[in-house]
Symmetry: C2
Subunit: 477 residues, 2 copies
């Protein structure tokens, strides 16, 4: 089996990204333009994300449901901003069962219109509120330029859709979900994020406003990792979703929607990977620890595998653990493969280790490797997995901080962004003309207006008008 090797990140980050995904078997290109195949290793990551997030979604009182893939064209046009934003990206079904359809069906790019049309039927009284729904589904957006995981014509996601009696409750929900997404990113994926608000230009088509979490990739670019939209009463009015309040009056509901997608797997790859392959935090890794037994003779093989059985008794109940005792592959070949796959902890056990009653323990994230006495082995694997999870978040956080700078002078801003990718904290007047000009001249956009920003008086980077806080500019995926 030929080893093709990876392009280094320093040489070409984008090439490295595509290669590491293909070689580590996370995904593959499909014969349908813009669509990818998620292979078992990649789908294992998605299942980890689903499992963690689904538990959070349910703990906060939401229920899963499933709505149709197809949306009648007429539904789609009921909210003006929404149709303008999404119609150009739609795949359209014109024929079914051998006949031309009377009304075209859009393959859902998002499900607000379908879900709101149903919710209008189910909500009658304040007793029916809040209605807290979530759906795990595939969606389709016809993209011109696609990238594995980051931007594919079809992708998998969850979309939450809620309805509330008051504007305050809807806003509270929107923020609660943003916190949930931030916790998923930081506590599970070890990816630090900035919580903030999108500008009017970047918000969801049809929302009052959009909150987001933004993460820095290893190349210094920003990746939008999750969004939570306050829809206000826009859709409630378009779909006539009303309820009888306690006092008897008929009122429109206040709504939210929110989603994260398989794009998060791209974020995971680019936030942690290195020139040897993926680097997975233990809470995300489909395999957390792998043991590679080493032998030359049949006698050694028997002795080593007997020791493995004894030493790893109960490990499969404790961790997602695998023994790689395949025949016909050298230990070095196996090490390389598990490094490429990003497994957090590797244990090696050979004849020399048997003599010393030890095993070698290697950490994927730091490449540290050291002998551990058998008596300490289980505890040391546990300790190391915890350390890897913590340290990966910490080192990603340090990298983000080191690559974030405050710049007040537009000439300097342009010069820096022409050379590097970084997060720039700058003043902005709030005017879209200035936002557009920066994008045109530097390719940087406003990643977000962060919640935790430096509140201070200053002048807009572009036009010099007064500004009270800095926003985060970055080149984005």
């Amino acid at each position: 089996m030929a080893r093709t090797g990876l392009t280094s990140q320093a040489t070409d980050f984008s090439k490295w990204y595509n290669e590491v995904i293909i070689q580590s078997k996370l995904a593959d290109y499909s014969p349908v333009k813009g669509c990818m195949v998620i292979r078992p290793h990649g789908y294992g990551l998605w299942e980890r994300l689903q499992s963690e997030l689904d538990a959070m979604i349910k703990e906060t009182g939401h229920e899963n449901a499933y709505f149709p893939l197809f949306i009648p064209e007429s539904f789609f046009t009921k909210e003006a901003e929404h149709v303008e934003g999404f119609a150009p990206e739609c795949a359209v079904v014109t024929h079914g069962g051998g006949k031309e359809l009377e009304e075209k069906l859009m393959v859902r790019p998002t499900s607000e219109t379908m879900i709101h049309s149903m919710v209008a039927k189910w909500i009658n009284s304040y007793r029916d509120l809040p209605m807290l729904l979530n759906q795990w589904a595939n969606v389709v957006r016809w993209e011109m330029r696609t990238r594995l995981f980051l931007r594919t014509t079809e992708f998998l996601w969850q979309e939450g859709h809620t309805a509330h009696a008051t504007a305050e409750e809807a806003e509270e929900e929107t923020l609660k979900i943003l916190d949930m997404y931030a916790s998923l990113a930081e506590d599970i994926m070890a990816v630090p994020v900035i919580k903030g608000k999108k500008t009017e230009k970047e918000k969801f088509a049809g929302a009052r406003w959009t909150y987001c979490i933004e993460a820095m990739m290893k190349d210094g670019k920003a990746l939008q990792a999750g969004t939570s939209h306050n829809l206000g009463q826009n859709f409630a009015k378009a779909f006539n979703i009303r309820f009888q309040s306690k006092s008897g009056s008929m009122e429109h509901v206040w709504q939210t929607s929110w989603g994260v997608s398989t794009r998060l797997i791209g974020a995971l790859v680019m936030a942690h990977g290195d020139d040897k392959g993926l680097v997975l935090p233990p809470k995300m890794a489909p395999i957390q620890a792998v043991l590679v037994p080493i032998w030359k003779t049949d006698v050694q093989r028997t002795e080593v595998l007997q020791a493995v059985d004894k030493l790893t008794d109960g490990w499969k109940q404790r961790w997602r653990f695998k023994v790689d005792d395949r025949e016909g592959y050298s230990p070095g070949w196996k090490f390389h493969e598990w490094e490429l796959a990003g497994v957090p902890v590797r244990i090696e056990l050979g004849p020399k280790d048997l003599e010393k009653q030890q095993a070698m323990l290697a950490r994927r994230d730091t490449s540290e490797k050291a002998p551990v006495a058998w008596d300490d082995l289980t505890a040391e694997v546990e300790r190391t997995l915890e350390a890897v999870q913590t340290d990966m978040l910490q080192s990603a956080r340090e990298r983000q901080e080191a690559n974030t700078h405050s710049i007040d002078d537009y000439a300097e801003f342009k010069e820096r962004l022409a050379k590097d990718n970084l997060f720039v904290q700058s003043h902005w007047c709030g005017n879209q003309d200035c936002e557009d000009q920066v994008q045109e001249e530097t390719k940087a956009t406003i990643a977000c207006m962060p919640f935790e920003s430096i509140r201070e008086s200053g002048k807009c980077l572009v036009c010099g008008a007064a500004s009270e806080e800095r926003v985060v500019f970055a080149k984005s995926y």
Copy 2:
């Protein structure tokens, strides 16, 4: 809130079925013809099924992956029987991103062609075999007449796709999966099934042969609850899926595919439901036990809820358990609602029960209700849940046996089937002409050629030719 009540099963089973699904909020009709919305209660059942089956799929060495929703038209035509079977049912995407597509895309009705085109790339050597893949996905088949859960234009399912080095291994896999499906139906859903083989007429388009599990619904009709196909080398040849064997020769792989769908929820409803609503076996129930506290005064309310807290301490860790302490609904209203929803065990606790240090415990499946002393309550709920699971399977099995008859005379066969729905064990010569004639004259088809059949010499029901075993005829969903 108006109670509309259910049509009785005896009056109109089909009407009862639709009403019970809508009223218990399992699903709702959607604005897209033939598509339904799966509401939280229904999706909860699907999640239970997924969770149980996914564990079985993984325990037997399969891995989950995800393949594109769209299949290029040209792929679809590579296996002749397959395209003939599925092309007329396809939804077709002709436009994307505002432009007409160069090649039409079929929305997957099943994924053999897409998956096999990828597998051809991934399989090179005997070392890559067996390749054991599964996908959880939505599929679309343009149906003329649709029924909630049983036959919808879009439905959810899992589809397994495996490739093996030998015909024997593929056959072994096909049968192993059938056993897995039978276990899901009987041990989890409490629905007894007949395992067997489909006739040539009823097999999967493109398979060598198809195995199935068939269940009897309460109206005596058969429902195909899962299928497992031995594909032989049909697709391997169409998609050129070859591997280098140990001896160095290049050979085509042997393949299988298999699936169960949201149709199983329809089976669950029709196998157990009664005139009061759904009846769910505890292993499937999203809520296994519900406690309804009863009070008239505020003082009573406080006392009863305090007792509830004490008595049910730890119950949520033990079972999927809920206390229905909603204000503004009478106990009777709540009983009715939980009966409609099919919750297996209901506990009632009111002021009189406090005096006697007891609670009332009601079984949904038998409608038995009896007082239980507080000291025994936790153990009694546990015992009852186990009994309900076992007894529901047993009573469904008895119903099936009572409605299965051996008939040798075609006139009698026609007469019985004109009056009743039942399973008829009859001799059949193996000729499709006779199969067609029975269907035309009685609407009954061959549900399956059961593995455990009465091997005996006899004469074909229709033409009188020699036959060595009986097959099962039934009217089918």
